[in-house]
């Protein structure tokens, strides 16, 4: 292999080579045309660069829409510079000098991959190629049979070629591969027979079963995780993430050393328990309210969209009717102008046609102005409603958050009471429980303990405030974006429509004009 190339200079893919390759691909008639016109690399879907003594892949980033690339029979040593070819379905890298599988991560649409006759010693770095159906890695340097298990992740893999690898000498080879890849139809250019399959199952069933169990477990875990993530996303869109449970409460007591100390005072743990329950239930209310409000908001938005679409469809149909009428009316006009006996008749008809075009343009524009006005009004309505929806939501959230604060205040008062009574007891040495030293430190005088309680109270109130303001910001942001989008959509639509109408009218006039310029010639 390398001998034949020794005489030739190794190449890097460059524009010249690509250009040549493209030209060679065309049949003769189109080839000329293409040469004259030049080819846009974006339009090329297939490219063959075989037998070109290529050492390094490069300059392929322009071929965004390439689906088939042949780089076989070169002296490539490293797979690189293929990242941009995301639409690639077929990649042939056979008969090269590649040592490591790499650089294929972005080619997620790849179905057919050939790495035949290279120097690869390990199957790896292919996790993203989930579409893979045909994989050829014969005549390489694969030694460990267990590597084949890696291929299990390709659920669509039907054809596999492993011939000519050292691992094929293993006597278990055939049955092992068939057992671990049960979906395989063809192995090493041969149909996998049912008898082989049965034998393989018999031989390896216990081991594959084990593997399957593990895989299923991993899959289940992944799915669970995804489901959780999805639910969280949903909660986030409703602005009430992490409110269904004790998350906020726990958060309030996080890193609060004072509170932890105070908790060990007699009677505080009961108090805390009760407080926690009440707080969590209020949070739960908040959470449910949030979800409900979210549905309401969605309904509001979809109602708006529905109305908008209805109006637009009606308007579109009306305009469409105008255009169709016009087209039917004037189907024959151009021919008539063309074939008019005298130039006078042609002239008058042309004028008539011109007037008709003008009229159509006017009518279409009027309709567009009308719908634009209607849309703007609708968007304004929507904006108003959104503002109302957002403010009521915030008002309600405020109410519920105040409940939280009340709970906290009440809890604080009770805590203070306990602190003071404990202090008094401690002073009188009537304390029955044995308290940790830290806590005893607090029980020095009234100020110390009240301060400690106040600090911890402040921390908790601040956490509640923070959560509340989070919700508010998210809500306002959402409101702004939704309203903004409604207006922006309308502006875009209007512009596009006007542009379309103008363009259409232009094309009609151009057609007529072309006729005029043609006329004198005949």
């Amino acid at each position: 292999m390398s001998q034949s190339h020794n005489s030739v200079e190794p190449n890097v893919i460059d524009d010249e080579m690509i250009q040549k390759a493209i030209e060679e691909q065309y049949p003769e008639d189109i080839g000329q045309l293409a040469k004259k016109e030049g080819t846009d690399f974006k339009d090329v879907t297939e490219l063959q660069l075989s037998f070109r003594n290529i050492l390094q892949i490069d300059n392929l980033w322009q071929f965004e829409n390439l689906t088939k690339l042949q780089l076989d029979n070169n002296i490539i040593e490293k797979i690189e510079a293929l990242e941009c070819l995301v639409h690639l379905v077929w990649l042939d890298l056979s008969f090269n000098n590649i040592e490591v599988i790499e650089g294929l991560d972005t080619l997620v649409k790849l179905q057919d991959l050939s790495l035949y006759n290279n120097r690869i010693s390990k199957i790896e770095h292919m996790d993203t190629l989930q579409e893979l159906q045909i994989f050829s890695i014969g005549k390489n340097n694969l030694t460990t049979l267990e590597d084949v298990i890696y291929l299990r992740r390709f659920k669509n893999l039907r054809t596999l070629n492993l011939t000519g690898n050292p691992l094929c000498d293993d006597e278990r080879y055939m049955l092992f591969v068939v057992a671990y890849l049960p979906n395989l139809m063809y192995l090493d250019f041969k149909l996998v027979s049912d008898s082989t399959r049965e034998a393989a199952v018999l031989e390896y069933q216990d081991r594959t079963d084990l593997l399957e169990g593990e895989e299923a477990q991993v899959l289940a875990e992944l799915e669970e995780k995804q489901a959780k993530q999805q639910e969280l996303e949903y909660h986030k869109t409703a602005f009430v993430e992490y409110l269904n449970g004790s998350f906020l409460f726990d958060n309030m007591y996080e890193d609060d050393t004072e509170a932890a100390k105070l908790a060990s005072l007699p009677g505080v743990s009961d108090l805390l328990q009760k407080y926690r329950e009440e707080f969590v239930s209020v949070c739960e209310n908040l959470f449910n309210f949030g979800l409900k409000e979210y549905e309401k908001r969605e309904a509001e938005v979809s109602e708006f969209c529905e109305c908008r679409n209805e109006a637009l469809t009606a308007n579109q149909q009306e305009s469409r009717k105008l255009i169709l009428d016009f087209e039917n009316r004037n189907k024959m006009t151009l021919d008539e102008i063309h074939n008019a006996g005298s130039s006078d008749i042609a002239e008058s008809k042309r004028a008539e046609y011109k007037a008709d075009i003008h009229q159509l343009s006017e009518a279409l524009m009027t309709l567009e102005i009308l719908i634009a006005d209607q849309m703007e009004e609708l968007a304004n309505d929507f904006k108003g409603n959104m503002a109302v929806v957002a403010s009521t939501f915030i008002e309600n959230i405020k109410g519920i958050m105040n409940q939280c604060r009340d709970l906290e205040n009440r809890h604080h008062e009770k805590l203070l009471e306990i602190c003071i009574t404990t202090l008094e007891k401690s002073v009188k040495n009537e304390l029955e429980e044995d308290l940790p030293d830290e806590v005893r430190m607090l029980l020095v005088d009234k100020n110390t303990i009240v301060n400690a309680a106040n600090v911890s109270h402040g921390v908790r109130l601040r956490k509640i405030d923070m959560r509340e303001s989070d919700i508010f910001t998210n809500t306002y942001r959402w409101q702004a974006s939704v309203t903004e989008k409604a207006f922006q959509n309308e502006v875009d639509r209007n512009r596009e429509h006007v542009k379309e109408i103008l363009q259409y009218i232009d094309s009609l006039q151009e057609e007529l004009h072309n006729m005029e310029t043609l006329e004198p010639m005949e």
Binding site: I30, L33, C307, Q316, S319, F382, H497, E500
Partner: protein, 840 residues
């Protein structure tokens, strides 16, 4: 209050019995307390029997075949009559209720009331009552009615009622009064049920009130003009109303003329009460037509009495307002005077016992009721034999298999299946006028046609014929509309598109056009339209193909549905191949919210010029309009597209030719099918499926032959011996004699052997038995009960064996000489020995 008198089929005996009956047989029919009766008496004579009903001679009925229960009364029946006499001094020698014989027939259609009703109305020929205002003096049994296939309204009702009760309905025969149309089976004022249009209930879309609403554009119309317009419209409306009114008056003329006997005409029909068999509402069935009527139907004018197989109720309610106000609660003793209160009581009191009560307890009739007869008397079981209808009769339906019904401006004819050679079973002729002179439309229904033709509609005004087919036609035809079965004339063919590979659903053709509609194609094609030109004068070129005479194709247009996988402005919505103009026109689908669709016009280079040109593609060969932004397209791309389209065009032309050929083929096939109609016969129908039966019989016969052959075909007893001699061609006399002797000796030896074997077995069995016996004698005392039993079982087994063996031995001894003689005889007759032994 009349009582229906069962005189039965006793016309013959009547003469002899008349004397004795006279005193017994009151004619309660005359004792009518209806006041109208008197003043309308004289009109009775005027009512004449419609002459088109063929007279049937009731005296021709042969009573001698009838079972004895038809002629005589059982003791309980006698008792019943006695009670009946007390009830209203109305007695007969058969009571009406006993003529009802509940029977469930083994046909699925007859399990529902509508099937029963239509069967009865079809099967029997209607005869008017002898006098339209009096009930008949006698009732015939349902079996007799079925046998002769004719009867009056009472006969119809009793038969239908028997079938309905048998099928589990709560049905009653009704004796009452109805309009003339009902009583005389005059349906000429009714719209044929087949023509009644089912009114489609428009689905009301529940429009959600959306709180967003677009403001409608300002109304710039003049209010005054609108007012003027409204005024005008109103005026036109009143005028139209006026006209309608006039027309309405005209229409009224069609209403039935006044009937002098209105309210007096006696009729019998069937009442089905709600409750059983999930009947939601009480209704009437008119047995003549088989139609159901609501109990408030104005055509039913009153009810005298009702009965079923178990009881008889007399209506005590006033019928001045027809049957509208009647309450059908039979347990209400004030409204319905019940005759056998005893049998009805459990019905009221113990609804649970109802089921039990319903059972036709045939065995009960001979058990005399010891208690007060009047109260606890049960209706005796019907004296009528179970109703039987053979499958053949059931299928034939109408008398002689045909029936004609006249409706308002329509005539309906029915035939039994297979009666007509072309499979015709029903024909509806619709007329333009009431006199039935101008035919508008003819509908014909067919069954069992091999070409699956189901229905043919001929519109006499437009001369359009439409054939409808059931699935299964060779070309998957569903419907075919045509004037003539000629190619290139206007016709429409509909297909079962699910069955066709190309998804063709409809093909409409005329002399110059052909439009094909498709459903469910992968390429989203839904319409293909082809326009043909006039055939030019033929210039015969050498080597032209056979289809050179085909119509030239002017243009082919194809329409596609939106393919959601492609972007709209790459998804072709319509492509038109203007073949004569060498042009291809493409229109793409609309993008969302766009008003104009992208378009492309390709101009082909005529074949001749293509070689001379340097460029295969120039920008002026394609005019593009791109909706939205326009991007410069590469000529290469356009050229490829053009090439593809040219290829498509070529294929399309062939496709059109194929379609034309298919049309020709279908038309030809249809013509052939129409010319020689073949009827399908189920392979299970042994009566009709002649071929099948022959096959079956042939098969049976051959199988029997096989069996016989096996028996008859004796083994060649000479074969082993012939083999020994070697030459089988010719046998000398010496050889023949030797063969014969050998053969006989062999048989003898075998017979002796056989006898010996049997003898040996017999001896052995006897010996064993003796041994056992001895052993038993010795050990008898020591044996447990089980062992003893076991021994006895084995002992009897052995004795049985011995018995059998001795029998066999005896038989063997008897038959052995016979067998020997038989073989000797056979050998003498054997053709191979004929010349040597035949005369010996």
């Amino acid at each position: 209050m009349e009582v229906l008198e069962e005189r039965e089929e006793e016309e013959h005996e009547e003469e002899q019995e008349e004397e004795e009956q006279k005193d017994k047989e009151l004619k309660p029919l005359e004792i009518s307390d209806k006041p109208e009766d008197l003043k309308t008496k004289e009109s009775v004579e005027r009512v004449c029997v419609p002459s088109d009903v063929p007279d049937f001679d009731w005296s021709s009925i042969d009573t001698s075949q009838l079972p004895s229960s038809y002629k005589t009364n059982s003791p309980s029946e006698e008792k019943l009559l006695h009670v009946a006499a007390h009830f209203l001094q109305q007695y007969t020698h058969k009571f009406v209720s006993t003529t009802v014989r509940p029977t469930l027939l083994p046909y699925t259609e007859l399990y529902h009331w509508d099937g029963c009703a239509s069967f009865v109305s079809d099967y029997l020929i209607m005869e008017p009552l002898k006098s339209p205002i009096t009930p008949p003096s006698s009732l015939y049994s349902p079996t007799t009615i079925l046998k002769y296939q004719r009867g009056n309204c009472f006969d119809f009702s009793v038969l239908l009622c028997s079938m309905l009760i048998g099928a589990g309905y709560d049905a009653y025969c009704v004796h009452g009064y109805a309009t003339r149309e009902i009583c005389t089976l005059d349906e000429t004022l009714e719209v044929c049920p087949l023509l009644r249009k089912t009114q489609e209930v428009p689905k009301e879309e529940i429009k959600k009130s959306n709180k967003y609403r677009i403001k409608s554009p300002p109304d710039l119309q003049s209010k005054f003009e609108l007012q003027q317009k409204a005024k005008k419209a109103k005026k036109a409306e009143t005028e139209a109303a006026q006209k309608d009114k006039e027309r309405g008056e005209e229409m009224k003329v069609e209403k039935p003329k006044g009937d002098p006997l209105h309210g007096l005409r006696v009729h019998a029909w069937v009442l089905v009460l709600s409750g059983k068999r999930e009947v939601p509402e009480t209704f009437f069935i008119n047995p003549f037509t088989g139609n159901s009527h609501s109990t408030t139907d104005e055509q039913f004018l009153g009810i005298e009495s009702i009965w079923n197989h178990r009881n008889y109720w007399v209506n005590m309610q006033d019928c001045w307002n027809g049957c509208k106000d009647l309450v059908f609660d039979l347990s209400d003793n004030i409204r319905w005077e019940v005759m056998l209160s005893g049998s009805d009581k459990p019905h009221q009191l113990l609804p649970d016992a109802e089921e039990k009560n319903e059972l036709p307890d045939n065995d009960m009739d001979d058990v005399p009721e010891p208690e007060d007869e009047n109260r606890n008397l049960d209706m005796p079981p019907s004296w009528v034999d179970p109703i039987q209808i053979s499958p053949r009769e059931f299928e034939t339906r109408c008398c002689q298999g045909t029936k004609v019904t006249l409706y308002k401006k329509a005539k309906l004819e029915k035939w039994a299946p297979y009666l007509n050679a072309n499979g015709l079973v029903k024909r509806l002729t619709v007329y333009a006028d009431a006199e039935c002179s101008e035919v508008v439309e003819v509908k014909e229904w067919f069954t069992n046609r091999e070409d699956m033709l189901d229905l043919r509609e001929v519109n006499k005004r437009t001369q359009l014929t439409t054939d409808y087919f059931s699935p299964g036609h060779r070309f998957h035809l569903k419907a075919h509309t045509y004037v003539w079965l000629e190619p290139e004339t206007e016709n429409t063919m509909e297909f079962y598109n699910e069955a066709r590979v190309d998804g063709l659903q409809k093909r409409v053709q005329s002399a110059m056009e052909m439009t094909e509609y498709f459903v469910g194609r992968d390429d989203f094609l839904h319409v293909r339209y082809t326009e043909f030109g006039k055939r030019g004068k033929k210039v015969h070129l050498a080597g032209m193909r056979a289809d050179a005479n085909a119509r030239p194709i002017v243009q082919i247009k194809e329409c596609f549905h939106r393919n959601p996988e492609k972007p709209a402005d790459e998804d072709v919505a319509e492509r038109i191949f203007l073949i004569t103009e060498e042009m291809i026109h493409l229109t793409y689908h609309l993008k969302d919210n766009y008003l104009t669709a992208s378009q492309k016009d390709f101009f082909k280079i005529p074949e001749g010029e293509i070689r001379g040109r340097e460029d295969v593609m120039t920008p002026d060969m394609c005019i593009t309009y791109q909706a939205g932004f326009s991007k410069e397209e590469k000529l290469v791309h356009l050229y490829k597209m053009l090439q593809e389209l040219i290829e498509v065009e070529k294929q399309l032309k062939e496709q059109v030719r194929r379609s034309e050929a298919e049309v020709l083929n279908i038309l030809k096939t249809r013509e052939n099918e129409e010319n020689s109609v073949k009827l399908l016969v189920s392979i299970y129908d042994t009566e009709r499926n002649e071929k099948r039966r022959q096959e079956y019989e042939a098969m049976k016969k051959s199988r029997e032959d096989d069996l016989l052959g096996q028996e008859g075909q004796d083994l060649d007893y000479l074969a082993p011996f012939l083999l020994q001699t070697g030459n089988t061609e010719k046998i000398t006399k010496a050889q023949a004699l030797r063969l014969r002797n050998d053969c006989l000796a062999d048989l003898k030896r075998r017979l002796v052997n056989k006898a010996n074997i049997i003898q040996a077995r017999f001896d052995k069995a006897v010996e064993e038995l003796q041994k056992k016996d001895e052993w038993f004698q010795e050990n008898q005392d020591k044996l447990s009960e089980e062992e003893e039993e076991e021994f006895l079982a084995r002992y009897s087994e052995t004795t049985f064996l011995i018995h059998i063996l001795s029998l066999r031995l005896r038989r063997e001894k008897e038959t052995a000489p016979q067998k020997y003689l038989a073989l000797e005889e056979k050998l003498r007759k054997d053709p191979r020995f004929a010349e040597h032994l035949g005369h010996a």
